[in-house]
Symmetry: C2
DNA sequence: TGTAATAATTGATTCAAATCAAGGAAATGC
DNA sequence: GCATTTCCTTGATTTGAATCAATTATTACA
């Protein structure tokens, strides 16, 4: 996998986006997809009132907009650098050309999207079956893995996190407070310390 | 696309499953994926109490379990023929062998999964933003397209449909009744007639 | 640093869905 | 065709989240 990704990079071209600059716009035909090497990218959607609302943030390595590009669809969101970011841009044209000589490139992208499908399907399950509190607990358990001392930086407004959970900001606030009162977590600004991962797991 | 699918078929082998027979089991390594030619397949998950619960039904042509196979993951659900069904089975091994000589096969599967990603992302949006009534309206509008006289056969228990919407069976029953009282639909058993698609759209 | 704008919390209220419980409808099996 | 089981609906109640409103905390920036 790793070595395939590094081979893949040769099919694209490294690009740099300073903080604040748009990478692509919602609705435009997805002629390119990206791989984030370093930095942070915000994905935004235009609401009916014309306001940009955060859909998610990508930080750490990962593909961006590959599904739209391979489906030959328009970008479903706009992307903007939340920090200075280095990416690799793949135009579908150059990717196809390069992948013809080595189908492993296609295979890699197929497996990337396959994993994304499984992940999205998991989120659908969570959203349709679990209660808000369970969803929050699930998120905390998943994110405190590998964080030193279980300290999670949510890296976005709590209102945006609330949207991720499909609840209102107030509901998130109250739920977090409750978990804190029970001694399971500690909330400091946009950081959450998971104090008792075991009991948190029991909530799921 | 169409001609690529028919070329694809040569990489697999047609199989027949009589009603009631299992095609694969949740948890098994996904060594094969399938394309449904004819019939109907139910996808089931094992609940914590060990009961099988319907996740979704596939009827009409379409791929099954391709994401698990390409992600090299276990099947996330079990599949059982709900009606006598004809499918094509692709083992990953034979698919890979055949696709090496023609990367278009990989490209096709990549685009299939790309579209699935977009579709799943859309459902997540719906589940996290829209109200139950809006979700139901969205479903009815989407499904009445192409149905003669707007007659939708939901083809499953109402309780399973309720789970799809992420609500309780009672809530679905009441919501449908309300829509019926307002003259937008008519419910007869497991069939729903959409009487006023326009007003239904306005609810979304 | 101080001020304005934005974000987050908290409280009060409303509303809708979950849950509990029961009755009626439909499908299934014999 | 009848009986049994399963499914669906409806009603009553509880619960939890949305909403509205106000206050406090943070952040941004002049």
């Amino acid at each position: 996998m790793e070595e395939t990704i590094s081979k893949l990079k040769s099919l694209g071209r490294e690009v740099f986006y300073p903080k604040g600059v748009y990478i692509f716009h919602m609705g435009d035909p997805a002629a390119s997809f990206f791989y984030l090497l370093e930095g942070e990218i915000g994905l935004y959607r235009l609401s009916r009132e014309g306001k940009e609302v955060l859909v998610s943030k990508v930080n750490g390595e990962g593909f961006i907009a590959e599904a739209a590009a391979f489906a030959d669809a328009p970008y479903p969101v706009s992307a903007r650098a939340a920090k200075d970011s280095r990416l690799i841009r793949f135009t579908m044209e150059s990717f196809r050309k390069g992948a013809l000589s080595d189908p492993a490139h296609f295979e890699l992208m197929a497996s990337v999207m396959a994993e994304k499908c499984l992940h999205l399907a998991g989120r659908i399950d969570t959203l349709s079956i679990k209660s808000p509190k369970e969803r929050i607990a699930e998120y905390l358990v998943a994110h405190c893995k590998g964080c030193s001392g279980g300290l999670i930086d949510i890296g976005m407004k709590k209102a945006d996190l609330a949207k991720y959970f499909g609840i209102s900001p107030e509901a998130l606030s109250r739920n977090l407070k409750q978990l804190a009162d029970e001694g399971l977590i500690e909330v400091v600004g946009r950081k959450i310390r998971v104090k008792d991962c075991k009991r948190l797991k029991n909530l799921i």
